[in-house]
């Protein structure tokens, strides 16, 4: 089967790749582009470990076909830190022990950033529902929710 040529932007960098029509965006990110920060926990959109944004929209990259990235702007965990500076969410997750094994962490960070870009004053309940598509089996979510609340508060403070 002929490969499809896709022209896209990943973490701000113009990127081209060839893929099968049936290949997922996650497979291309991980296996062809070496961006292994997005994880496959289920391959069925249930765990959120492969969360990325496509044109600002939070998606499970295991449910997106790679050709759908044509012309889009894809953001992955690898693009979250700026140079050697961690994003406030990344920093807070480490500071507040919001991770244990760390396999779900990239997905939670991408999802949390997408939330705070839309709403920098979410309630605890709003955070919990926004992140309900990301599974964490280690932390019981407590410290993740606290970290996101804390970053939201800092964002509101610095926006003043």
């Amino acid at each position: 089967m002929a490969k499809i040529h896709v022209t896209t932007t990943i973490n701000g960098a113009p990127t081209e790749f060839l893929c099968d029509p049936s290949q997922t965006l996650l497979d291309v990110l991980r296996d062809q582009l070496g961006l292994t920060g997005s994880k496959e926990g289920c391959g069925s959109g249930d765990c959120g470990a492969c969360s990325v944004t496509v044109d600002g929209r939070l998606v499970c990259s295991c449910l997106v076909l790679a050709p759908e990235a044509e012309g889009a702007k894809v953001e992955t965990i690898e693009g979250m830190a700026q140079g050697d500076k961690l994003h406030p969410l990344q920093k807070k997750f480490v500071e507040m022990a919001a991770l244990q094994c760390g396999i779900c962490t990239p997905g939670f960070l991408i999802a949390s950033r997408a939330l705070l870009e839309r709403n920098n004053n979410p309630t605890e309940t709003e955070i919990r529902y926004w992140l309900a598509g990301n599974l964490c089996r280690c932390t019981g979510y407590d410290k993740i929710i606290h970290a996101v609340m804390e970053v939201a508060a800092e964002m509101r403070e610095s926006a003043k």
Binding site: Q90, Y141, D142
Partner: protein, 759 residues
């Protein structure tokens, strides 16, 4: 909060692997790749129970791109030999049959063949070309059914070990065990109140988010390298050596970062297959399980049937306890029925106890360890029965437990007499918690339950190396599953008297550090922590001898204080203290590199106790449970890094909540798992939960220099009964069977409604 006794212990610095894990840089098993690697895939049984009449792999092998195919014939037969795997025991004869079915397939998902091909698509196509001729056999899923005479027998040679009278024909009951203390007959005769009930729990999966994955590369000279996600790379080496008839020195295993394990990654599934495929193809082979494979073919925790009888006096004093545990082992013997029995009444000082356990095989995947293996199941039954006792005697559930709590000197039913333990302190802390002191909100009800786990020591090795600038690398050999690198570095910093950030903890592969038992049993911070402390003490001895050499004094005349060598007294002479950096700079002149080592078999693990409190509401129409508030109190010995200790309590509690409310393996009539995915096997999500409050009770373990007790396992034990007890108090309905899922709970409420109205 920090520990006033220490400078570093009890503080909350950033974890050493933090930056890697928030940037996607950390490498988990599926992130490893080698040039020229093949992709390996496993063909799995669609049947719950069948005899394999023949396997024809010729068409698969002929497919262009397929480089190797393996079946059971590629693995040597194993002796009937039981070896430890995590906190469980496994028989090598069974392990080789579990990684690749031989005479029979024993559960849906059982591996029957594996292929390696140039692409995943070709590998998948090759699987469809393998022809297996099965003779389908009757199957049995349920433990009670499997125990009945006339049930389909899985293993024609399995005779019940410990049966009374001795077994005369094969059955599915692999083992009968018994623990006794005192005289329960006399105890029950004396009792003023007796409560007796039967409970069931379902099989649940550990649910680690990272599926099993392995990459193996075999060389023509017989050397093998493996990269895999495991709780014990030394065990991967050991199993592969046994299963492939190799020497351990030929196998080098590098553990990846591990994306959760909870006990489920203490055994091997893919590694031996990947090695064999690599040997046959001459190429590296990478294998990854799908989530469906993880559910169908990797170890769930067992379900069990537990019968409990408790006798007490009217003042709440328990005088007798009996418990019978029938536990799923899965397709091969070896359920955690032993610890389930031992933990059942261990929270309490009861004069008369009798416990019987049965290890029962059925056509399910072989169970693996899951956080305090077995204990949540027996504890659910005992703690629910105790709650009924509290209701009947109208006593506060914490007060009744305080009245019966195990203390130092309590002899357990399994024979051990407790040393310094914190059951009473933990109950008291739960009682004093802000949560327990707050009245229950209208519409909610409160449940309480306790739990016990032994904790484990075992074999650990560690090394401490001083770099030429005086910074230190601490090397250990246990995969870091929840922040253990931070706790090891904190203990090293405390011991050495230098800053935490001058210490870099690393986890070495099997060729770069001595043997370490698995990450499991809540042993790493305790036992490997002790090895690290001892390696640093060995290092300090070396550092002191270097200072002695520098000063021309006897090594006994040097002390180590705040990261410096100092003269022990004025009689030694007057010398400026020497820092570790200064000693490192002159190491070449005083004897070369400065290193410390330690290896030991650690005993004296301090048992842990937990007490949980839960407020919840039940929607009478839908059966949906809403948890309003949850608190986990636990004796943690000394909290080395309190954030990660809290994290263990919170994570364990939520796994237990999932076990109580939703999680279960559901089988159809054909013996096939009906919910092998995260959509239908529902683990708790963020919106299901409130914050999980924690109370860290510190009763130091006297056998550890910093008082460490394992903390990881206890917190999964109490939630099952804590939630169940709260549901019973919310609805007036005592649910004896887990999970308390909405359809089950609403059906039970519907059924009870006319009954309750009539009363």
């Amino acid at each position: 909060m920090s520990n006033p006794k220490y400078k570093w212990i009890g503080t909350r610095p950033d974890r050493p692997d933090g930056a890697d894990k928030v940037t996607g840089r950390a490498r988990f098993a599926a992130d490893f790749n080698l040039a020229g690697q093949l992709i390996g895939k496993v063909l799995r049984s669609p049947h719950a129970h069948a005899r394999i009449k023949s396997i024809d792999t010729s068409k698969a092998l002929a497919l262009p791109g397929v480089k190797a195919v393996v079946t059971a014939k590629d693995f040597p037969e194993q002796a009937d030999l039981t070896v430890p795997a995590g906190e469980m025991q496994v028989n090598l004869r069974d392990v080789t049959r579990n990684i690749m079915a031989r005479e029979k397939v024993l559960y849906e998902g059982h591996a029957v063949a594996a292929v390696a091909a140039t692409t995943e698509a070709i590998a998948k196509q090759a699987l469809s070309l393998i022809k297996v001729d099965y003779q389908i056999l009757p199957h049995v899923i349920d433990v009670a059914e499997a125990m009945k005479p006339g049930a389909p027998v899985l293993h024609e040679t399995l005779m019940t070990e410990g049966a009374k009278p001795p077994a005369t024909k094969p059955s599915n009951i692999a083992k009968r065990i018994e623990f006794a203390k005192g005289d329960t007959k006399a105890g029950f005769a004396k009792a003023e109140v007796i409560i007796e009930r039967s409970f069931t729990t379902q099989a649940v999966h550990q649910g680690y988010i990272e599926p099993h994955a392995a990459l193996a590369s075999a060389s023509e000279d017989g050397q093998v390298q493996i990269w895999s996600t495991t709780q014990g790379h030394f065990q991967v080496r050991g199993f592969c050596a046994r299963l492939l008839n190799m020497e351990t020195s030929q196998i080098r295993v590098t553990p990846s970062e591990i994306g959760g394990g909870f006990g489920g990654k203490t055994v091997v599934y893919l590694e031996p297959l990947a090695v064999r495929l690599s040997q046959k193809s001459g190429k590296p082979v990478k294998m990854t399980m799908s989530r469906e494979d993880v559910f169908r073919a990797s170890g769930p925790a067992p379900g069990g049937n537990v019968h409990v009888k408790i006798g007490a006096m009217k003042d709440g004093r328990i005088v007798a306890g009996e418990c019978t545990v029938e536990m799923q082992a899965g397709a091969f013997p070896g359920s955690p029925v032993g610890p389930a029995c031992m933990c059942s009444f261990a929270c309490y000082d009861i004069d008369n106890v009798f416990i019987v356990g049965f290890d029962v095989v059925s056509n399910r995947p072989k169970v693996a360890a899951y956080r305090a293996p077995g204990a949540p199941i027996s504890s659910f039954a005992v703690e629910s029965t105790i709650d009924m006792l509290c209701q009947q005697l109208n006593m506060d559930p914490i007060d009744l437990r305080l009245k019966n709590a195990a203390t130092k000197g309590t002899k357990t039913a399994y024979g051990v007499t407790f040393g310094v333990i914190g059951m009473v302190e933990t109950l008291q802390a739960a009682k004093d918690s802000p949560h327990y002191k707050t009245p229950v909100k209208p519409g909610f009800a409160r449940g309480v339950a306790a739990g016990f786990w032994f904790n484990v020591g075992a074999d650990s090795s560690a090394a401490a190396h001083v770099g030429e600038d005086g910074t230190v690398t601490v090397i250990s050999g246990n995969p870091d599953i929840g922040g253990s690198r931070a706790s090891l570095a904190l203990m090293a910093a405390e011991e050495l008297g230098i800053d935490y950030d001058k210490i870099r903890p690393v986890i070495a592969d099997t060729a770069s550090i001595g043997f370490n038992f698995v990450t499991g049993g809540s042993r790493v911070t305790f036992a490997t922590g002790l090895a690290v402390v001892n390696s640093v003490r060995d290092l300090i001895r070396d550092l002191k001898s270097r200072a002695a050499k520098t000063w021309g004094v006897d090594p006994d005349g040097v002390i180590w204080e705040n990261g410096m060598a100092k003269p022990a007294g004025s009689n030694v002479g007057t010398f400026e203290p020497l820092s570790i950096a200064q000693l490192a700079a002159t190491a070449g002149k005083t004897g070369g590199p400065i290193n410390g080592h330690a290896q030991l078999n650690v005993t004296g693990a301090g048992p842990g106790f937990g007490v949980h409190v839960c407020d919840l509401a039940v929607d009478a129409d839908t059966g949906i449970v809403t948890i309003g508030r949850y608190t986990a109190a636990q004796d943690v010995g000394t909290a080395i890094h309190p954030s990660y200790v809290e994290g263990q309590l919170q994570g364990g509690a939520v796994q237990g909540i999932g076990w109580a409310l939703n999680e279960e393996y559901i089988y159809n009539a054909q013996g096939r798992l009906a919910n092998a995915g995260f959509l239908d096997y529902r683990i708790p999500v963020a919106s299901d939960l409130p914050m999980i409050e924690t109370v860290l009770v510190e009763v130091p373990n006297p056998t550890h220099p910093y008082g460490v007790r394992g903390v990881g396992e206890v917190p999964i034990i109490p939630p099952l009964a804590t939630v169940g007890n709260a549901v019973a108090r919310a609805t007036g309905l005592r649910m004896l069977d887990l999970p308390l899922s909405p359809p089950k709970l609403s059906a039970a409420l519907d059924a009870a409604r006319p009954l309750m109205a009539a009363e």
